[in-house]
Amino acid sequence: MNFRRSDGPADRAESERLLDTARTGTPPEPTADPLALLLAAAAAPADPGELTGEERAVAAFRAARANPAPAAAPRPRHRFRVGAVLAGVAATATAGAAFAAVSLDRNPEPAPPPVPATSGSTGASGPGTPTHSGGATPSGGPSGGIPSTAPTPGGSGGPGRPADAAQLAGLCRAYLAKSDRQRARALETDVFADLVSAAGGADRVEDYCLALVPEKSPEAAPPEPASPRAASPKPSAHKATPSAPAAPTRRTGRPTTAPGR
């Protein structure tokens, strides 16, 4: 029908015009060339079928209004990423550093989950309420020790269940990050007592943790641990199969996705 064009817009300027026409939503004349019609069709007004998510979006809007995220909210992933790196370092270091991971989970920054449906939403971290602010440095030092001086995570009483869940998840990550040998020892410590009881016994901790710690979460985006010591499983590695103790290269089970941006 329209033989005017043999191979589309002759130059960028013409393309720009076509695109600008399409984006203004002006209905093309029926006799417009096929490309213009195609662009107009692509930019056609909404079809009702495209708006089916409206109520859900509005519900999210209401929830966000009711429970506004703190200013820090736009970058939750960053926080988690840092946490993951630190936790990774910590887990590499020793059992003692397990604490770091745990207290990191209860992130210093006040980021109360905006919506009741917390778990899984902000990624694996599920930041509980911060009780220890900031003190999350993996200071344990590389001595394969049992944490002695650290505050007991279970005791510090997160308010209600979410915090507990977050703590348990943190403990799980710390636990899963350990080598087989370290695990057994770790479970005898007070630090992991809550975990053991939550799991219903030391022998069930592993299954419990594998179930509890999501193997991948949209937001959780620990990048490669920058540390050269990274030759250890990541804290969230769900597949830390108990094999060679302290196996240096157990990074295969890296379950998480790449950084969000």
Partner: protein, 213 residues
Amino acid sequence: MTGELNEAVAAAQAGDEEAFRFLYRSLQPGLLRYLTALVGADAEDVASEAWLQISRDLPSFTGGEFRAWTVTIARNRAMDHLRRQRRRPALPVPVQALSELAGDADTAERAGETIGTDSALALIASLPPREAEAVLLRAVIGLDAETAGRVLGRRAGAVRTAAHRGLRRLAAMLQRTDADQSSDQAGGATPPRPRTGRGRQAPQAPKAEPADG
């Protein structure tokens, strides 16, 4: 239009739910179409995630082009989604859409006549990714080349070039199909706003609810 949008943004930031609905209705179709090119059949889910984030982060939007802000969020969610699937983000051509195009080919191949939204999008999605994104951001989302460049992290000139190449490729596709149809149809009877029924857009119940964070 943009002024209207900005007003609605301000009102929504102040808590006006109707304004938020307006934003949704204005922006969702474009986002969904763009996302369909990026992630195929998962576009609705990804769009849903994007709206959760938009709702949450709306207070922190400080001005600028709101369309660009939302489409950046949507794009990031799409990239996350693709990573999650361990697919290469560089391969956004939704195979489903293309095979549906074959089914929908009656429409697509009457190129000079009517082409439906779905078919048009499927054709665009079949372009090389960069070109497809450039065309969609410009024509469907409605950004100018500079803003589209910011969304894509590329220079405006690169976006113009990609869009231009994409259009030429599309024109060639159309011509091919047109020629196949031994084109002696009069173009006069064409409804100005062609749309097909969007059968495949069957509103599925959202299963992925999380992501408030």
